[in-house]
Amino acid sequence: MPEQPPYEPEGAMAATGTGGTMDLAASEATTLEKTPGGPGGTGPEGKPRSLWSDAWHDLRRNPVFLASALVILFLVVLAIRPSLIAPGNPLSCDLSKALDGSRAGHPFGYDGQGCDVYTRTVHGARTSVTVGVCATLGVALLGSVLGGLAGYFGRGWDAVLSRITDTFFAIPVLLGGLVLLSVVTSTTVWPVVGFIVLLGWPQISRIARGAVITAKQNDYVLAARALGASDSRILLRHIAPNAVAPVIVVATIALGTYIALEATLSYLGVGLKPPSVSWGIDISAASPYIRNAPHALLWPSGALAITVLAFIMLGDAVRDALDPKLR
């Protein structure tokens, strides 16, 4: 990860906590510099490029972005139609083949219950991508709305919402998961998604708050206000487009960590529950066999690692593109 340049204290204050949020403070504070008419380059037609077209211009030439986007595209296709490359049934297991190695048609071998590791690994992409995408959408939506309101209206709103944010920040993720999810009996992905949203929104909320605070001091916002624009119009037309970039960046990086979190919770037995197919469940089930049959552990672990890596690298690439200070 490239060095972060120094930036103004406003941004530093907005970003407490993990390194991930610190990175964001940088891009958040710089967003306004890239706003329309900013010092960005010009397009082929000589028209000034917007932040977004500029970023897209960069991304298209970034091999890291292309590689991770390709992996993610592949994963999304698998999530929608896993049977494209794995026509088998992930729930059909033949115990007599338990822990067998690879053979024709079953390249990854079998797990401790005699299920085909290849089929389960491919089908596991669906839950991981579903949880990752849904949790990220939920977190981004909830976090940016609450953070945006706190940043825009300030004072009482800000004080209350910030304290609530602090409270949720203070909940340890794994402990919270073990306590809250252990009472859930549903075997769908939604309790896990809900839990991640519940604990994940404060991060986005802080970023959004900082971005909104920065954006609302801009001349064009003051101008819009002076012309009598309503709060909702200012928020949606002028502030949101200029504050959304840092949210997108954090959310993309967080998506990878949410997938890892789902696997962690499932590994501990409180996330997804069978008959759901999840890499976390498979890793958990295969871990006692690591000495006898490492293949059952390595394939789902590898898939998980690659997926998380792809989303984090994508997030990095997006941040680089949206953050001119790094150039």
Binding site: L95, Y289, N292
Partner: protein
Amino acid sequence: MRGARPVRWAAGAAAVVLAAAACGGGGGTTPGVFSASWGDPQNPLEPANTNEVQGGKVLDMIFRGLKRYNPRTAAPENMLAERIDTSDARNFTITVKDGRRFSNGEPVTARSFVDAWNYGASLKNNQKNAYFFGYIEGYDKVHPETGTQSADTLSGLRVTGPRTFTVRLNQKFSTFPDTLGYVAFSPLPRAFFDHHEDWLRKPVGNGPYRIVSYTRGFKMALRRWGGYQGPDKARNKGVDLQVYTDSNTAYTDLLAGNLDLVDDVPATQLKFARKDLDGRYINTPAGIIQTLAFPFYDRSWNSPRMRKVRTGLSMAIDRDLITRTIFRRTRTPASDWTSPVLGAAGGFQAGLCAAACVHDPRRAKQLVREGGGLPGGQVRITYNADTGSHKQWVDAVCNSINNALGDDTACVGNPVGTFADFRNQLGRHSMPGPFRAGWQMDYPLIQNFLQPLYYSGGSSNDGQWSNKDFDRLVDQANAESDRAKAVRLFQRAEGVVRDHMAAIPLWYQNGSAGYSHRLSHVALTPFSVPVYDEIKVG
């Protein structure tokens, strides 16, 4: 033994720290002393309050009762009893051997037994094994089902001399003497009553070992008691019982040379255990059967048609394949509701279950359909997940059922985080479907495999199955003074269990153990407990 199995395997995720502490303990470096895997007992080590295996292991080292079950055959043999006489299967005269002492010097007398049994039965002492004294006359006064007790001592117990006492039962129970090897019937020294707190801190018994120190969550040190008079003196200088909360950790420690004896080799390691341990691995039949029990308090499982569904589920399970692949033959497919350890003369009937316990997916599907299908379209098998091997076999049983019924979600496992919570849910009668039911015998009698589990209101009848014919046959069997006739009556009662498929027999369990180069003469009893006193070090 109620709930014995799971505690034995109990391994909480949170207790990794404790396991780490145990790892730090290292192997027995004292000459002649060896280390063995263990778990903290659930309760203080009062004999009548210990009904799980870990506490039972220690009590078996520091106590000797009137009878002892032969470590090889489980046959009840006189230990402290010189003789036990009866003429009517209801009044017993017991003579205690002369010259035996507790390790604090007190002599073992008839009173040591009578006081201990009165203590164990008394309601106010709230002992888990109190029901073992339920056959003795006056139990209903000392331990009424509701209200307060109207007597403190059992009227059926009378000390008649320094070494003799009489027992009067409230009904005929011909095999009563054979139950006296159970730990709840151990004698207790006066120190137990006079200095109870001190005794609890460092229990004093009359067995071949004495407790030197105990740190909860870490280890208990036991050393040979030089003054022990019995025939089974310890052949080593002592045992350090190291606390492990995960059998995988204990096994790894054994391989690493930090531990000398592991008495529960986890199923996931079985495939390579023989190779890992190079012959230092034993696998012995034990008086343990695993079954799937049903919530008969739930109407949807209790209707007459459900018998077909239960039988169908039983036939859907490929016991042979599961015991072969998951358990590496440390389990044997069950074909009755007792255990081969009893022997044919003791009531074991191989093949009693017949076709209903043989894998036949086609017939299974047909029976489930004829019985009206699965209640709610799905069975959820509840088990406690904190232990090493239950998840593996429940998943395998479910896959077996799913394959037979041709439905990927016909059966799912329903893990409960901890064994304690599992027991609580059983007690609340809130099982959503079949549940894991393991039974380890308390004493080697067919009665012990049937009455506590299937008798109306039985102490471990968690599914509340109730059948008049079964109850009547058990009553008759208990009243029968001829042992062979009693066994036959119990077998007829077991036939009722079979006809109604009150529980699905899964497999008979073996005990398995691995040990280090330092040890020899390692064996497991039919209760799957190591015979500590026979082990030689070096």
